[in-house]
């Protein structure tokens, strides 16, 4: 790919004919893949041009596992906080306690991972200098800060038994911020130039929201006596269902940007995540009322959620490393725009609009 010097005459084109194809790379392109097992993916060639195969956007410097763990823990904590508050008002002390501890522990740990990922951790508080609605991380900070304060305090109170009256208030505050905490992380990833994140910017919050409930529900279900665990189980089942459905919207997209979710390491993560989540879901439905079933399915769902975070994270990373994920969609976008402009007719399939190569 980085052949160095252009091969003789490679793809020189007339000035007035379509896009350049110098240093053209042919890629096997999977289209409409991921429809499920057994389905044959359609593959065709994609041609695009690059600068010695060099990537165009930078690979995020966010570290793994810090960030995937942050995403996972934040989600689990957020959904647990909601569950805990509702359990509290509906008189489920055991579930309340588990959920509060999950929310508290998860939030504190997530803060730790978040800070650890900073290049200058000692400057964490600079996050509070400004409040920027255009920065999901800034907004997230103003979600995470009260959430972790409230959830952390609530969990501490739960453990230590002090100021019991504050518990409900703290739990309620955490619950208010819990949902946003779990879903803003979808925006956090999507609001970047990382092709395979940004492309699915309306879907990732649902993936993460569902995943958060699967994880939070799963963990609470596993650690709560069966008698009180039903809401957790139901939330986990519903969350896992939403997660799988939303993920299908991502992986099943016929955009080239779905490709990284299928290939290589992220593909493995995603397949494992799907297996765990689907397995956990099934087990929860079938055996969740039993203690062992609750524990096993809860663990599977949490693992599925965690793997989803790793998979999504890694897929985005992978999409930055190959310039085709920048060039091809943008070219398609331009071609569609051009077709629309020149013909006045509906753009139709943007992929068809670009019939230059091949």
């Amino acid at each position: 790919m980085t052949g160095g010097i252009t091969s003789p005459g490679a793809g020189w084109r007339q000035a007035d004919r379509g896009p350049a194809t110098q240093q053209t790379t042919r890629k096997r392109r999977k289209r409409g893949g991921g429809r499920g097992r057994g389905e044959v993916a359609m593959v065709d060639d994609v041609e695009f041009t690059s600068y010695y195969g060099r990537q165009i956007v930078k690979t995020p410097v966010w570290k793994s596992p810090d960030v995937p763990l942050y995403l996972f823990l934040g989600g689990a904590a957020g959904s647990s906080a909601i569950l805990g508050a509702l359990a509290d008002v509906t008189g489920r002390p055991a579930l309340t306690r588990t959920a509060r501890l999950t929310a508290g522990g998860g939030s504190i740990l997530s803060v730790v991972f978040l800070i650890h990922d900073l290049g200058r951790p000692e400057r964490f508080l600079h996050m509070l200098r400004v409040f920027k609605v255009t920065s999901p991380l800034s907004v997230g900070t103003y979600i995470l800060a009260p959430f972790s304060a409230a959830a952390g305090a609530t969990a501490a109170v739960e453990l230590l038994g002090w100021f019991p009256k504050l518990k409900r208030f703290g739990g309620a505050v955490a619950a208010v911020f819990g949902g946003p905490l779990a879903t803003y992380t979808g925006v956090l990833l999507a609001n970047t130039a990382v092709p395979s994140w940004h492309e699915f910017h309306t879907k990732l919050p649902f993936v993460f929201g569902g995943s958060a409930m699967a994880a939070g529900g799963g963990i609470c279900m596993a650690f709560t006596p069966v008698g009180e665990a039903e809401p957790a189980r139901k939330m986990a089942i519903l969350g896992a269902g939403i997660e799988l459905a939303a993920l299908r919207g991502v992986e099943g997209s016929d955009s080239i940007l779905a490709e990284p979710y299928h290939e290589g390491r992220p593909g493995q993560f995603m397949r494992a995540a799907r297996a765990c989540t689907a397995g956990g879901l099934g087990l929860a439905v079938l055996g969740g009322r039993r203690r062992w079933g609750a524990v096993a399915s809860g663990a599977l769902l949490a693992a599925g959620s965690l793997l989803t975070r790793f998979g999504v994270f890694e897929a985005g990373i992978a999409s930055t490393k190959d310039p085709k994920y920048v060039v091809v969609p943008q070219r398609e976008r331009m071609a569609a725009r051009e077709a629309q402009r020149t013909s006045g007719a509906p753009a139709g399939d943007p992929h068809e609009a670009r019939s230059v190569s091949s």
């Binding site: 160095g4 010097i5 003789p8 690059s50 290049g119 920027k132 949902g179 946003p180 970047t192 070219r331």
Partner: protein, 357 residues
């Protein structure tokens, strides 16, 4: 407090002031500066006159005391020969704020050509894929016997040297730099306010603020800004903010021997670039195009724009970048809905469960 309500644009998508996307008449004022602020400045990099000398790279490093790095941005490392023509810088990054790209292209010329005419009209037809295997040396011999209209050939464009009669060789060189976007993804996503827009309309990292969260790195559609691993903070072109405060041009534009890098008030540069493009097009240089000049593009036009002689991706530039923030309202809405959904699911789960005994 009317202004504070404008932040709702980020959630609602109702954005009459184009605060997230679209043309902005005065991005400096939009960033909170007094109307008497200095005019927005920028770079116009005319690659048709670039000689690839890399003075810009060195002048930048000298002024900004950047460390040396290899072609993958590794600090204080001397890389191997990259093999990418004369480019051993490789990319823009935390330690290289100017990067000269070198692209070698060649094509055989298929002649004979007819009459002389207006330059550009009678440009020769070129093969799309001419005899790629030049292991056959006879191609040189055939070419020697061919008829040539070198006059027309040479007009092809400023960086096409007609090399002999049988071959055109084009060596494109282009000095890349931070674009100082009107809608700058890096600036938008920065949670600390370390990245900010200056009174000159440029986008700069405040090194006393940056905490190295790295969000900007992922959010630049051009892959400009990067983190210095050992330092933790992010770095990129400042358009020599300190020099600007002293009334001096940025170091790269000061050094550039051929005025490929032009610095000045952005509106003036835009006019100059339009004129240059018209001149080149008059000369028949159809491959010339401006990149980043269009204020209605995905980033609202940029402060450092280019005249290119080929498609942007040939130079390692994204062909149609869009600031990620354009879609932010949709994202917040999705996140909000997803959060509500979570509450809904939780309530459903609670309500749908048997009351504990």
């Amino acid at each position: 407090m009317t202004s504070i309500s404008s932040v709702s644009a980020a959630f609602t998508g109702r954005d009459p002031g184009n605060r997230l996307y679209g043309p902005v008449p005065d991005v400096t004022e939009q960033s909170g500066y007094e109307p008497e602020h200095p005019k927005r400045v920028g770079f116009f990099t005319d690659t048709s006159v670039c000689i690839g000398c890399k003075a810009c790279e060195v002048a930048c490093k000298e002024w900004n005391t950047l460390p040396m790095d290899d072609s993958h941005g590794v600090r204080d490392a001397l890389g191997d020969l990259s093999g990418m023509s004369y480019d051993n810088t490789g990319q823009l990054g935390a330690n290289s704020w100017r990067h000269v790209a070198f692209i070698e292209q060649s094509r055989a010329v298929d002649l004979p050509m007819p009459s002389f005419g207006r330059p550009g009209d009678d440009r020769p037809h070129a093969h799309g894929m001419p005899a790629p295997d030049t292991g056959d040396l006879n191609s040189t011999a055939t070419a020697q016997a061919s008829v040539l209209n070198a006059e027309a050939l040479s007009e092809f464009d400023p960086q096409t040297g007609q090399s002999g009669a049988d071959k055109q060789v084009r060596w494109l060189m282009s000095s890349d730099v931070c674009k100082h976007c009107t809608h700058a993804g890096c600036l938008d996503v920065c949670p600390t306010g370390a990245l900010f827009r200056t009174e000159f309309g440029t986008v700069v990292v405040q090194q006393d603020i940056c905490n190295g969260c790295g969000y900007c790195v992922a959010s630049c559609p051009y892959g400009v800004i990067d983190q210095r691993k050992d330092d933790g903070r992010v770095f990129k072109c400042t358009m020599c903010y300190d020099r600007l405060t002293d009334g001096l041009m940025p170091a790269c534009a000061t050094a550039c021997p051929t005025q490929s890098i032009q610095f000045g008030d952005l509106d003036e540069l835009q006019a100059r670039a339009d004129a240059r493009l018209a001149t080149l097009q008059d000369q028949g240089v159809e491959t010339a195009r401006l990149y980043g000049r269009d204020e209605s593009d995905g980033v609202g036009g940029v402060g450092a724009f280019f005249l290119l002689l080929d498609e942007p991706e040939v130079y390692g530039l994204p062909p149609d970048p869009i600031v990620t923030t354009r879609d932010l309202p949709a994202m917040w809405k999705a996140a909000g809905k997803a959060a509500l959904m979570m509450v809904g699911v939780a309530v459903t789960a609670i309500v749908g469960s048997r009351r504990p005994r």
